[in-house]
Amino acid sequence: MTNETGIGASVRRKEDKRFIIGKGRYLDDITKPGQTYGYFVRSPYAHAKINSIDTSEALNASGVVDILTGPDMEADGIGPIICGWGITSKDGTPHKAPAHPALAVSHVKYVGHQVALVVAETLQEAKDAAELVEIDYEELPHVIEVGDALASDAPQIHDDIPGNLSFDWEIGDRAAAEQAIASAHHVTRMDLRNNRLIPNAMEPRAALGEYDAGTDEITLYTTSQNPHVHRLVLSAFNAVAPEHKLRVIAPDVGGGFGSKIFIYSEETVCAWATKKLNRPIKWTAERSESFLSDAHGRDHETHAEMAFDADGKILGFKVSTKANVGCYLSTFASAVPTYLYGTLLNGQYTMPAIYCEVQAGFTNTAPVDAYRGAGRPEATYVVERMIEVGAREMGIDPGEIRKRNFIPPDAYPYETPVIMAYDSGNYALAMDKAQAAIDYSGFEARKAESAQRGKLRGIGYSAFIEACGIAPSAAVGSLGAGVGLWESAQVRFNPTGSVTVFTGSHSHGQGHETTFAQIVSDQLGVPIDQVEISHGDTGKVPFGMGTYGSRSLAVGGSAIMKAIDKVVEKSKKIAAHTLEASVEDIEHSGGVFSVAGTDKKMTMAEIAFSAYVPHNYPADVEPGMDETAFYDPLNFTFPAGTHIAEVEIDPETGTTEILDWVAVDDFGNVINPMIVEGQVHGGLAQGIGQALLENCVYDKESGQLLTGSYMDYCMPRADDLPTFRVETINTPCTTNPLGVKGCGEAGAISAPAALMNAITNALGKEIDMPATPEKVWRAAQGL
């Protein structure tokens, strides 16, 4: 039975109504009786010693409730901010992470570093008082770029971490890769810069702590992608409250892109301070604070060497990367440039030998952590720029060289030299479709036409792969993760047949309330308007791991399927009893349970009613219809595809216009094609932003953030983007019950390489991101 709100239907997003009519409930919309306002005093210096903090005048200012500092937190036994993933260096030593007090105690390490919290009756009063907090700083030398930080004469950022080196990690076979390079027909060598980005979710980070002295419970409302992880860390490591006395609620959250995974200082401070002061405290970041203190993304300096035989077959690949992790190791900062990066350097290709080494260096900048794609855009950028340039150097068509190297469709499961086991894929099919869609064979004629107008036309590929559906707990545990990465789901029928699904995933724009409801509607025949998806509240939802790494559907959706299986199993028993048949004879399809070979049947709604009004009910079945499942994936999923970008450059100004963009992605099975297309569009916009527009710049001299507002940090806007042409192919994932692979990050992962390959194809010269007009102009003019 087809279901027009089931799997595969482009159902309009159920959640959009409340957003469109202004009824979304974001954090700053919440106000509690007796609420106070928090404002953070932040460091104006990139690196300084705190000689003293004098709050006496500020404490006397109008409306001030209290002013709290790092020593106050230490005195209350509040633990430092942690990194949740352990990385082991080449020499077997664990990564080095400096102690990171939520409020600075003795030193500040970057501009924007949190030093004190001013709590006042109004925000205005808090800000007024913040100006009266007198801090005696003694400036110290600072370092901004990771290459400089890892140099022998660099200023020392943390006393106990010599050379500013957090870890020096490796993966793969160095000897084999070097041997392949030494004996190859051709070696392509490049230095590549993956520019530093600032996430810029539409809703800034915010936190509201509310303490109930009667129950001794703290409720923390915060902009989180993973409220249970927040609760766990704040309880187990920061000792804010025991887990059963801490409730974390992430209500409607306006975008995250990774930046709201992490446990930051501000929410830690608000959760602690609300109990200390016995008043609700709300802090909402101003946009300038977001620029300064949200975890930034990317920031790699890489040297890569790719070895080819005479036919363009890849023989070996060696990558050395310096990753800027900022001044402290954020929650997952250590995993991003290692296991989310080095393990994807195999791309879509057969590569006999791969070696990757990564040095992670501390700098006097904001912490760097996962940002949409997280390690995988960096890997794709290196692989896809290298193979493209290799093709150019060897005079091989860039599509052709990729096809010669693709893992063939009959080779799955395919073990790469960098520990991944790809389950499925059909890379040549995606490439063929993309080439046809963009009319690749007509490119030369289009280029000639552009040249007649004095313009430079270019075309560029990105055949990307990512590891999503993060992740099998045993696998990530063996790689250093401090948590498991399973997901939970609870499918609760109400007596009248409507359903509430509680998911440990968290939607901050992805459309879970629709996609997840489609699964239930499809499998159990419940009209979609009778399916409610509940998420984001540790007081309601079973412990879950949240949303990042394109995992919600592959892991969270699979957990829902597992819970549905339990509902079906129980329903069959109830149907068998009621219809006086054996359980084995009950057939289920889309919420209709029938006795095989008869017209006797019961609907899901009838069964649910019977479960709550069990007057005629099997003796060995519990009443109620409320099933919970936890799902731990068997493997990562491996979405992949080919994107082709076509651009035209004005050599007089250096302006790049994107003329066409074809994206053919293999996301496995697709639940809601419209939402998938939207996710691809959003990812592409961010990837194009990175390649063309976005760049986080700190002044090396002063350590100040120069791109601290939208006047200087350029986010992509609609008129910067072309009309995307998006297609999917659907090779089902073999390791999860939905056969889905995940689509949230693909665009951001793929786009930078495709666009830079197109621009450099047009220019006939290699440049780094972002391809600003001046940079492109210089290249076009040979300057």
Partner: protein
């Protein structure tokens, strides 16, 4: 934002009576309000000009166009009968900015990357104040500096209608201010080429004006070497790149005028 007093007088004379060292005029607020919100300014009193009807409007007057100081960019974009001026106003910021920002506020602020200074100088306009008239060439004096004296209030700007004019702007992709904007105009006072965004303050490109007076063609500009000396250099564009853009945009303006 710090606390301040707010006044909204109905006449220019009342405004003049309120002005002193601790007052600031509020026109469209597109620079002032963000500055206040970031606590970068602490005026005692804000004097809002929005109640003074005589400061508003686009009034064609023979071969001139008078634009009230409090006329929004959107209104100029919709009503100005000088197409290059309308198009310039329509390219400022975004719709929100254009619906609030005013011509008087913009030129009084004299942001080096603002568009209007190129129009005022390029079209040889006259800035009228409550005290006098100031020729465009004398009005913009330096970075964020103008010829306005203490207590002097812009009332309107009079643009002589040019024979033809074009404004070509190269946006800063982030702020959409001009990295470089060039107004080329055939006016009764001769060919004028005004450049904004590139230097500390709008300036005329005399060499180009001379070349175009001899031959109004893009080729006439080909051999002019625009020096990068004294031009702005920042994270978005070097002085050298701005120098290039001045020439490229001037040529494109000429092409546009020549149709």
């Amino acid at each position: 934002m710090y606390e301040f007093d707010y006044k909204r007088p109905g006449t220019i004379d009342e405004v003049a009576g309120l002005l002193n060292d601790d007052t600031v005029l509020l026109a469209g607020g597109q620079t002032l309000i963000p500055t206040l919100k970031q606590r970068l300014a602490q005026p005692e009193t804000l004097v809002d000009l929005s109640a003074i009807e005589s400061l508003r409007g686009v009034c064609p007057d023979g071969d001139q166009l008078a634009i009230g100081a409090m006329t929004t960019h959107a209104e100029v974009a919709n009503k100005a009968t000088i197409p290059a001026l309308a198009s310039l106003a329509g390219g400022i910021g975004d719709a929100q900015v254009r619906n609030r920002g005013t011509i008087g506020g913009s030129i009084a602020n004299n942001d080096p990357a603002a568009d209007y200074p190129a129009a005022v100088v390029g079209l040889n306009a006259v800035v009228n104040t409550n005290r006098r008239t100031i020729a465009a060439d004398d009005f913009f004096t330096d970075l964020f500096e103008t010829a306005l004296e203490e207590g002097e209030i812009i009332t309107n700007v009079t643009f002589p209608k040019p024979e033809a004019a074009a404004y070509i702007k190269f946006d800063n992709p982030a702020s959409r201010y001009a990295i470089v904007g060039v107004m080329v105009a055939k006016t009764s006072a001769g060919i004028r080429v005004a450049v904004t965004g590139a230097g500390p303050c709008v300036f005329r490109q005399a060499e180009m004006e001379a070349a175009l007076s001899a031959s109004f063609t893009p080729q006439a500009l080909e051999n002019i070497a625009v020096s990068a000396d004294g031009l702005n250099s920042d994270i978005h564009a070097s002085a050298e790149y701005r120098a290039n853009l001045i020439k490229v945009l001037a040529k494109r303006a000429v092409v546009q005028i020549n149709g």
